[in-house]
């Protein structure tokens, strides 16, 4: 077993703080997203246009991973990227401005919420299922060749584990002993298709064995379970011992995207009862790790940060349509 930092009460408080920040952020985006799309629902209307995939319920994955990562490590994420971006340390103001399509955004309004690129934190995401994994291999390759102990974390959903890119990536990463940690967020649903109807195995973690790498499944959306599994896998990667696969059974608290009525979801009424945030908060209060006042203070500071980011985004300039052709290339223009 490779050593990683022991789970202390400080670490527990930090993870809860991160989960609160993420939930506060997603609730604020939810509010802003729907604020100007009625009457009716026009997906292209409003200050935040387009598809919106929110990550409420999946905070444990982000908080448990982020606890072990530095700004120098890399992460690639999915179409549902906000939680892991925040936990990776992506700048909240610039990320929010990108979601609002502003010139001050991470991609100057050219990317959008599924295409966040932050070179300062080596974070990126892709809207194509499983296709964010291969670039993480390349980042890990560069880290390895330069003799560093930096790692790349590649996050994907459980639907991605049935894509060719997933299997190619696991094989290549294991073959070259790349410092990569593959993390599957199993939220039970590929849009409307339950995993039982899409996946031949009950745990994707077993698929690690096919490529000669450790595979572990974290049950019950446990942030401490993620902390331990990620700690082990990341330490292993940093030590030069190669990639690992982690699957976390997590929860999609809301729809696939905003506007999804989830008529296909028979368990819908019971979903709020599985919310990991109050569960973890209550557990820490009961164990005396935090007080109710601590939690209120976490919430207040999260609201301050999030509302500051949203205000920054709203006050930022809208890109000039005349500049739509800028940034196609680094050098010269298309003719």
């Amino acid at each position: 077993m490779t050593l990683y930092p022991e789970l202390t009460d400080d670490a527990r408080r930090e993870m809860l703080r991160m989960m609160v920040l993420i939930r506060t952020y997603e609730e604020a985006i939810l509010r802003e997203y729907h604020a100007d799309k009625s009457p009716g629902f026009d997906i292209g209307a409003g200050l935040i246009p387009g598809e919106m995939h929110l990550s409420a319920g999946q905070e444990p994955v982000a908080a448990g991973l982020g606890a072990h990562l530095t700004l120098d490590d890399a992460m690639t994420a999915t179409h549902r990227p906000h939680h892991v971006a925040i936990a990776k340390g992506v700048r909240l103001r610039e990320m929010t401005a990108e979601i609002f399509g502003r010139e001050t955004g991470l991609g100057r309004g050219r990317g959008g919420h599924m295409h966040l690129f932050d070179p300062q934190t080596h974070f990126s995401c892709s809207g194509i299922i499983a296709e964010g994994l291969p670039p993480a291999l390349g980042q890990a390759f560069a880290f390895q060749r330069r003799g560093t102990d930096r790692v790349a974390v590649a996050v994907a959903g459980e639907g991605a584990a049935n894509q060719g890119a997933f299997h190619e990536s696991l094989n290549l990463a294991a073959l070259w002993k790349l410092p990569v940690v593959f993390v599957i967020e199993d939220n039970d649903w590929g849009i409307s298709v339950p995993r039982a109807k899409s996946t031949s195995v009950t745990s994707n973690a077993v698929r690690g064995a096919a490529y000669g790498m450790p595979g572990i499944r974290v049950e019950e959306n446990s942030v401490e379970g993620v902390y331990n599994a990620a700690g082990e896998a990341i330490a292993r990667a940093r030590a030069g011992d190669g990639p690992s696969l982690i699957e976390v059974h997590t929860l999609r608290l809301w729809g696939h995207f905003e506007g999804d009525a989830q008529g296909y979801r028979a368990d819908l009424e019971g979903v709020p009862g599985h919310d990991p945030l109050p569960t973890y908060r209550n557990g820490l209060v009961e164990r005396g790790v935090i007080t109710a006042e601590d939690y209120a203070s976490m919430q207040a500071s999260a609201v301050d940060r999030v509302e500051d980011a949203i205000a920054f985004a709203k006050e930022s300039p809208i890109p000039d349509p005349a500049d739509a052709l800028k940034y196609i290339f680094a050098e010269g223009a298309r003719s």
């Binding site: 991470l106 050219r110 990317g111 690129f117 070179p119 980042q139 190619e168 290549l172 680094a330 003719s335």
Partner: protein, 356 residues
């Protein structure tokens, strides 16, 4: 991810005198890669059979011996994984040269190419660069069938965010490869098997030519007048350049003067060079080994028609009609843009002049 601050070896000479030393196109490509690898530790080669085999079409022969398996890297047959690995390494500031063995194989990895390699710079608002070369073999003429003979450059040129270069000869191949490696943008480098000078495939007479020993660049986006003429312009690229030159030589004694434009790059496209030539001749023939419809030939014609439609007294195309490339040699040569088809197109183009 790092912002790439400057290409290695900047300030190299641009299109110097060719000198006397002769190389095949494949050796010219190898030399360009080797020189850039010596200049920059971040340059490496990755792909199927690029190591001890030296590349199926000899694009990397000898490189393993000099640079070792840490920089000349054989991969599994996992194009999505290793092209994506190139992208990630480029994003972190390395300069990968990734070989896709046949362009026909793009179907198994196009998402990495057009949704990632080509779009990251734009989606990041210019904050993340992808200085990567995707090198791939194109073209038919040797009965390799419908899945190993395509040119497909029009498909890559159609999709925004990648530069596309298609050299026809050793001099341009070395200069364009050097420019591609040094570029901070993703560049698709498409070499025709028939211009590589391979010992096991029918050689074109110009697949061996003069190449300077020094490192130099052929600017991406600049066409070349391969032969000057006054009656008709042939705009073409890759192997077809040589067919066009052969036809031009053949028809010269008859008093038919053919100008041949070698595009060399498709993205950016040198529309000014096309327009300048047609301004002189008024007659335009586009010869393209890619499929005819929705591709390069239509784009070349449109670039004149949109700007100076009055120039055009004649327009025609010699392309692969929209059919999968057949296996039987007689069938394949029935659809390729052969010298015979090009000659017939030229004679038709100048028929009005000869009859008057």
């Amino acid at each position: 991810m790092t912002m790439t601050t400057g290409a290695p070896g900047a300030g190299a000479s641009i299109e110097p005198d060719p000198g006397k030393r002769k190389l095949s196109t494949s050796k010219a490509i190898q030399e360009a890669i080797a020189q850039q690898m010596r200049a920059d530790e971040g340059v490496f080669v990755m792909g199927e059979d690029v190591g001890s085999y030296g590349g199926i079409f000899s694009s990397t022969t000898g490189l393993l011996e000099e640079f070792g398996p840490q920089r000349i890297i054989d991969t599994p047959i996992s194009e999505t994984a290793f092209i994506g690995t190139g992208i990630g390494a480029a994003v972190e500031g390395m300069r990968p040269i990734v070989e896709l063995m046949f362009v026909d194989f793009f179907g198994v990895c196009m998402d990495q190419i057009y949704n990632h390699m080509a779009k990251i710079h734009y989606e990041s608002g210019g904050n993340v660069q992808v200085p990567m070369v995707l090198m791939t073999a194109v073209g038919g003429g040797y009965s390799d069938g419908a899945q190993h003979s395509q040119s497909l450059w029009g498909t890559f040129a159609h999709l925004p965010g990648m530069k596309v270069v298609v050299p026809s000869n050793p001099y341009d191949a070395k200069g364009l490869m050097t420019a591609a490696i040094r570029s901070n943008d993703p560049v698709v480098f498409m070499f025709h098997k028939g211009v590589m000078g391979l010992g096991w495939m029918k050689k074109n007479q110009r697949s061996v030519g003069a190449v300077p020993e020094e490192s130099y660049e052929v600017p991406i986006g600049k066409a070349r007048v391969a032969r000057e003429g006054t009656d008709v312009t042939i705009v073409t690229l890759s192997l077809s350049v040589h067919h066009a030159l052969d036809v031009a030589e053949k028809l010269e004694p008859e008093g038919i003067s053919v100008e041949v434009i070698d595009l060399r790059s498709l993205v950016p496209l040198d529309r000014d060079a096309i327009l300048a030539s047609v301004s002189k001749t008024g007659r335009l023939i586009v010869v393209d080994e890619d499929y005819q419809s929705f591709g390069v030939s239509g784009e070349v014609i449109a670039s004149v028609a949109e700007r100076r439609p009055g120039l055009l007294t004649h327009v025609s195309r010699v392309c692969v009609p929209d059919v999968p490339l057949p296996y039987a040699s007689q069938l394949e040569y029935g659809v390729l843009p052969t010298p015979a088809r090009i000659e017939a197109a030229v004679r038709e183009a100048v028929a009005d002049r000869l009859s008057s």
